[in-house]
Amino acid sequence: MTTPLPLPLLEVRNLRVQFPTRRGLLTAVDDISLSIAPGEVLGVVGESGAGKSLTGAAIIGLLEPPGRIASGEILLNGRRIDNLSPEEFRKIRGREIGAIFQDPLTSLNPLYTIGRQITETILTHLDVSPAEAKKRAIDLLNEVGIPAADKRIDHYPHQFSGGMRQRVVISLALAAQPKLIIADEPTTALDVSIQAQIITLLKKLCREHGTSIMLVTHDMGVIAETADRVAVMYAGRIVEIGPVAEVIHNPQHPYTVGLMGAIPDLTKEVERLTQIDGSMPRLNAIPSGCAFNPRCTRKVEVGSRCTTERPGLLPAGKTQAACWLYANDGANDGANNPANHNVNAPQTVAV
Amino acid sequence: MKLTSLLITILAACAAGSPLASADAKTLRYATQDEPQTLDPHSANLAVTNRLLSNIYEGLVFRDKDWKIVPWLATSWTQPDARTWRFKLRPNIKFHDGSTFSADDVVFSVERALHQFSQLKVSVQGVERARKVDELTVDLIMREPNPVLLKHLVFFRIMSKSWAEKNKATIPQNYRDKEETFSSRNANGTGPFMVKERQADVRTVIVENKNWWNRNSPERGNVTQVELLPISSRPTRLAALISGEVQFVNDPPAQDIARLKATKNVKVVEGLEARVQYLVFDTMRDELLYSDVKGKNPWKDLRVRQAVAHAIDVEAIKQKSMRGLSVPTGTILTIFDQGYSKDADTRLKYDQGRARQLLKEAGYANGFSVTLDCGNNAPAVDICPAVTAMLNQVGIRVTANIMTIPNFFPKLQRADTSFYLLSWTSPTSDALYTLQSLLYTHSSAAGAGGAAGDNNYGRYSNKELDKLIDQFKVELDMKKRDALIRDALLLINREMPIVPLHRQIIPWAMSAKPGSNVTAAFPPNGTPYFFRFNIK
């Protein structure tokens, strides 16, 4: 606590995203809290359906109806944005929070040149002339490594390869110089050989621009390479959050342990990859208590509490994990302790 | 760019094009159910065709407003001997194409009207040939005397010989086989109107003939152009009248008369039309067509024909199908016709029991099936199903076959029918035309000058009736003549080759809107003579 606390760029408090369906209300994101510091890269991992993409969509205000934010707050630079009017939120999108989606092949409108799509974004947010916007667009394309950008600017998306297109997408996301980029599986659809290039590019650009990234992926390899911290999601909840190296090499939550065990690590000699039995519960059948408890191999160590009481994030090693294993004597309060909202802030971890 | 110039063109044209008609041009738009079919003056003897052509072609004589025969293209006539009529022609008459009317044209037109393809042989009833005496004198040589020749000549239409020759239209269009000739699409008469535009099925436009010889007639009205628009759909036709798009409808459906009378800016002129609706049996064939009776023809049995007459409730038809606009009748002649006889105007009583009884006696206790052919024109289209139902009720299993006019008439003309419903009006207002056309033994012999049985599609043949007709045809004493006609009518009533139903009243409906207020008199033949129309 020696240095003054930098204000987190993004702060998510007790976010809950729900879908009304005919079988009742489904909670896809359940009471999660996290924050991202300026310039920081936060990785969010989890299986598909864990709620990570929805978290991203909620932050950028693009939850598809009937999905909606049921409770919680989202703060950007200390200003609450989840309750903004659609028009105000629109002004934030692109300008303060950018986004990159999974598939570069489908992220670009096939009927317009990429130049038009970039300048359009610039002109929407920045008060510049069209000529200036075009110049910026060419600069951006140069910056993301597109050769002969001044010519390519008039090409249509289908004239670019997949990797090139993702570069275009990145340039689009950065076009209005946002402070935060939500990158939702930005490399999943790409060739393995290109994935690394893109990740490197993304990281480099963000460092240069001082942009924070929320990197949503199921690929631990990408996280390991890119993220500063990582949040592991399971069934709509964050089960563990902490510095990336810690989470990877010294995971605390049994789920994270299982997840990491499933990743081949070339640097270590491991006899065999472990695998977690069973699968993530469906949203309408989330068990009470800890959502992971039916699959958890260490449930017996805790006892019935795992099935009755939901664990909050508890300090565990150098990370925080939502697991009763880390409840100290008086840690019963973990579940209801509002204090753990700030325990996951990076600075406290650093303490 | 192109679009703009197009728009400008359109706007300019709109601005320039709207006020067309000069102040005194009076256009009468006239909607009627059926297409006039042809412009050939001698081709088809159909009411719809005659209605149009009477305004374009003229004859030697005509009828005035009071229906009296008056000189027309002929100024006077004499009968030098029993077989000859001599006509003095009106000088300085021009055809529409500018050629001068002369005796040659009359001679030519007589020949043409007598041609085998002509359906208007009856318009020169009894004439054997015509002979030119000088440029303006013509003799009609009679094969037999015709005391009412003038009445026939009223609708004998004269066309230009030179024009016909030039355009290879010297013989009438063969209407039955749907032939198409120059004269079926073009016309060149001497009448008050000439054809300006003819689009079959779409419109026929006739405009006033500025050189018409009779322009100073006190009867002349002010119509300068008539657009004839065939609108087959009854509601559409009526809608057009009510909305003021057309000013004249000559065949408003009976059910709409009441409403039309109550409609503002529309008036109804009720004439008494000399048109009789009647049923005809095929009495020729030995085996009935379109029937389940094999090997014989029930219609040949008088009792069966009488059964039909007994089965028809003509009062119900009057009340429902005709909405009161008909006069039930027991004879084919009307009170307008020379020779009409009250004694013959009797109907067999409506009596289903009697009808069944007669059928039983004739050996058709279980009835038989037959097809009734009808046109789809009003009011036949309403009467046909009604008659069908009534006959079914006494056991004759009639099926109605309602056809469009261009299919219906050729079918009749081929005598390809067992039983049909038709209407008839005598343009001559004389018994001869009617009886001879409808009931005289049919003869297809060409050039015999006979209109014998021209419209006798049931092919009824009765020597006794033929004899009576032959007799009164040449009887010059009108009293004796009427007596002969009466005998013939009574014979027909006894023999019942046809069943007359009623005389229909089909009024004209026309605009009464100021500015397009039409006034016209309703002649007994229901033909609109447009030169007598006024629009104010």
Partner: protein, 329 residues
């Protein structure tokens, strides 16, 4: 691009050959042309003469060839009903039908597209639901009923618009147009609405479906994520992508519109080809039926070609792939 057009042209020719074959079959297998042309009294010798004169003694392919040559020159023989050359009749009637069909199509687009866009963008609003259900009613209302009711309301009750015919027409060459007179313009309104009713509902539903599809795409999501305004997203991005398939279907619909004109023309006594055709069917006037068939086929082929070219203009993917330029890196 040239290759593409040539391929399309070849396809079109194939279609026209097929249609021509059907029309030819109509002539030859359905009605014996000889008996159609001669009066019943004709002798056997007459028949043989006509047969020879018509070339009916020739082998099948020669006859077909002759028919095609004649058809290509617009010679379809004489109408059995009206006794006039069919081609002449069609040329007279063609402008009326085309003007009506075009007006209806334009009307359908002008009303259908905005309604489709509206119902897609405001899919949960009650107005959208009303419009959607209303469009079902529109599809369920037979064309002739609509015409009858329109006549009743606008011609008879209100007396605003004519109930039949084309009003006054002007000739521009062989083309008679009703667009140049106020009367003509007024006369086309009711028939065009009647005829446009079905296209409106169809285009509206089509646009809605396509638009919803497009709105689900990633590039729309991405466009939103870039903070573009709703207008830019909806009308700049979504609409243009929506219209690409809409163009095709609308083009194809033009054929349907021309065919449905048969009904509209009957109700409104509109002097077009449809009225001619329906009468031809009633009177078994084979030459008119065959010629109409060929003409509709021809119009379809032309419209298809135009649609393809439009597609080309709208969708850059086609343009470039076909010309072989560009391509991926």
């Amino acid at each position: 691009m040239l290759a593409f057009i040539i391929r399309r042209l070849l396809q079109s020719i194939l279609v026209m050959l097929t249609v021509g074959f059907i029309a030819f079959s109509l002539f030859n297998f359905v009605g014996d042309p000889v008996s159609l042309m001669l009066p019943p009294e004709a002798t056997q010798a007459d028949r043989e003469d006509v047969r020879k004169a018509l070339g009916l003694d020739q082998p099948f392919y020669v006859q077909f060839g002759t028919f095609l040559v004649n058809a290509a020159q617009g010679n379809f023989g004489i109408s059995l009903r009206l006794g006039r050359p069919v081609s002449q009749l069609l040329v007279e009637r063609l402008p009326a039908t085309l003007e009506l069909a075009m007006t209806a199509a334009v009307f359908g687009l002008l009303v259908g597209i905005p309604m489709g866009v509206y119902t897609a963008l405001k899919r949960d609003k009650w107005t959208s639901k009303v419009l959607l259900t209303g469009s079902l009613v529109g599809v369920s209302l037979p064309n002739f009923l609509i015409g009858i009711f329109l006549i009743l309301i606008f011609a008879v009750w209100l007396g605003w618009l004519p109930s039949f015919g084309r009003g006054e027409t002007k000739m521009i060459g062989f083309w008679s147009t009703g667009f140049l007179t106020t009367e003509g313009l007024k006369a086309i309104i009711l028939p065009a609405i009647t005829l446009g009713f079905y296209p409106i509902t169809l285009i509206m539903r089509l646009v809605r479906a396509e638009m919803l599809e497009v709105l689900r795409t990633d590039y729309i999501k991405f466009a939103r994520a870039r903070g573009l305004t709703n207008n830019a997203v909806h009308f700049g991005h979504a609409l243009k992508n929506t219209l690409v398939p809409v163009i095709t279907i609308t083009g194809l619909q033009l054929g349907a519109i021309i065919a449905f004109a048969i009904i509209t023309e009957t109700v409104f006594q509109w002097p077009g080809m449809g009225l001619l055709f329906i009468q031809a069917v009633q009177f078994a006037d084979i030459p008119v039926m065959a010629a109409y068939l060929c003409l509709i086929g021809f119009i379809f082929v032309v419209v298809n070609l135009i649609v393809d070219l439009l597609y080309f203009a709208v969708d850059p993917r086609l343009r470039v792939e076909r010309s072989g330029a560009g391509g991926g890196h």
